[in-house]
Amino acid sequence: MTDRQQAELRKDEVEAGTTTGLASPSVDVASGRQNSLWSDAWDSLKRNVLFWIGSVLAVLFILLALLPGLFARGADPDDCALGNSLDKPSAQHWFGFDQQGCDYMATVVYGARNSLIIGVLAVLFVLVLGVVMGAIAGYFGGATDSLLSRVTDIFYALPLVLGALVLLRVGPTTNIPIINKPGPAAVALALALFGWMTAMRLVRSQVIAVKSADYVAAARAMGASHRRILVRHILPNAVAPVLVYATITIGVLIAAEATLTYLGVGLQRPTHSWGLQIEAGQSLLRTAPHLVLFPSLILTLTVMAFILMGDALRDALDPRQRA
């Protein structure tokens, strides 16, 4: 790598930090041997306690989302009686009741599904947008790169929550598919549309870094198509940093969903969502603190699960970290 490219990479790392809030997802694998990289990484992961904590939490969270009935202790989140409104946690009802008089444990448990759907969907959207744009910009360079980089700059300059906020406000009245139907898919797409830029830059810098490598030049000399070179030879090198980024970003986006819902543009009642529950409980913080406590706790644990895993993965994949 040239100094210039190295500088760009480091700058991307720094900017990635501003959006993901924690890990610099860039992993310098361009020079490493792929096989030993992954097996070394696994060895290192196995010894990392934080990774295991994160994994257990994540598995638990996914189970909550897939089989909420198992965890709701037999309660139906839609079976509500105003007479039970705001009752405190008890032996029968561990989380107490919400204002509508619904069993709170059931509603909180059922909230996991929407968070998971939105987190995963949004990351998928982000990856598709980011990988395609980044690969094209990095591989073809020149005017294409300039144009796509400027577009990225434009989106980058708009804060994620702000952009998604406006889009979701406009959404229901436009003809844009998905966005015009309020629900998890619309929220995920809105988050992705204003959150793909870091993925794009990551992929772009990885592609630039690898593009001039000998084996790529060899493939080109043998007459391989652009597409084949990109897909078979260049992109696999970007997998590691993108994986780190995606894991952390699931957590970040789940938190962003809660924020959007809290601000009134995400999911709507009577859907079960942690953002909605926090929003509803907020005004009753003094009299019924359990309403904010439980969804906040579970939301935090979920976000933490993905950040712990991503963080551990980054450490494991980054040869610089190993002394």
Binding site: D3, A7, T19, D153, I154, F155, A157, L162, Y262
Partner: protein
């Protein structure tokens, strides 16, 4: 260097125009009728509504509206809101609040972040390192929404250490919201410093300094820290621009009349001129500080040359 800055400045123009058009198009694509909502649950007489709509060019096609907007913008006129108040006045009034909030947040993230990062980095895998690792993970995992309520509830209400909200206590009012706003970045600064310090502690020149028998504190401060802080300083610079946008939730929860809250209210009231004006300003700050960061990078790190 001069040519590089000039080129970067030129590049900001399409970004600024693109971002403002993007937000303008979204805001004005809103098919709702902001004028109709002015009367609340009650209808205004049709002629009165028509008059207001006319005054705000709401009947023109999108591109014409945007053209008129940019035309006025170039002359320093950001337009007026529905209560006839110039948007520039709103910004002038609100910006100082957000700037104060950002300054407090930046100070927190720089001071606490760097100190924690250095402590963790000089002895990797030591006790302090693990404390910093775990606590930073914890902090970034708490959504800012949750963090704001917890901070307000515990430090403002229960312990009474800080004013709960508002700006009546001067700089003191900004401590708690500043800390909340800074939390995520603070953790990142700590992490970045830790990695950077740890890396440099192993560098040849530090070994040489140690071998020369220089005192430990001198090695850390003069040799390690100076080099380790390059990425940290640039991150903090870039973060100033990003913080402006992150202020929406913090300002709402802590009742701070800054531009973050102004833009949120304006989105809900469909005050297009206010939304576009403030967002354009945020974009400008973001680009401006990123430019400074790039230049700083070149200045701080002699290995990098732009031209």
């Amino acid at each position: 260097m001069g040519r590089y800055i000039a080129r970067r400045l030129l590049l900001t123009i399409p970004v600024l125009i693109g971002a403002s058009f993007l937000i303008f198009a979204m805001v004005f694509a809103l098919p709702g009728d902001p004028v109709a909502a002015l009367g609340g649950d009650r209808s205004l007489p049709p002629a009165v509504e028509a008059q207001i709509r006319d005054e705000f060019n709401l009947n023109d096609p999108l591109l014409v509206q945007y053209g008129k907007y940019v035309g006025n913008l170039v002359q320093g006129d950001l337009g007026i809101d529905f209560s006839q108040r110039p948007v520039i006045d709103t910004i002038e009034q609100r910006l100082p609040v957000t700037v104060r909030l950002a300054v407090v947040a930046i100070l927190f993230e720089a001071i606490i972040g760097i100190v924690a990062g250095v402590l963790a980095g000089i002895r990797r895998n030591g006790f302090l390192d693990n404390v910093v690792l775990v606590s930073t993970t914890l902090i970034v995992s708490i959504p800012i929404l949750v963090l704001a309520f917890v901070a307000q509830f515990v430090f403002g209400l229960q312990l009474g250490w800080f004013p709960i909200s508002g700006t009546s206590e001067g700089w003191g009012s900004f401590l708690l919201p500043g800390l909340v706003l800074a939390a995520g970045s603070l953790a990142y600064v700590a992490r970045l410093t830790r990695t950077s310090v740890a890396e440099n502690m192993r560098a040849d020149y530090v070994r040489t300094a140690k071998a020369k028998g220089l005192p430990r504190s001198r090695v850390i401060i003069r040799h390690t820290l100076r080099n380790s802080l390059i990425p940290v300083v640039t991150f903090i610079g870039a973060d100033i621009g990003a913080l402006m946008g992150g202020a929406i939730v913090t300002e709402s929860v802590f009742n701070l009349p800054g531009i973050g809250r102004a833009v949120f209210d304006a989105i809900n009231n469909q005050e297009g001129a206010v939304v576009v004006g403030i967002v354009t300003l945020m974009v400008f700050f973001f680009i401006f500080f990123n430019l400074i960061v790039d230049v700083l990078y070149a200045v701080l790190d002699p290995r990098i040359r732009y031209d």
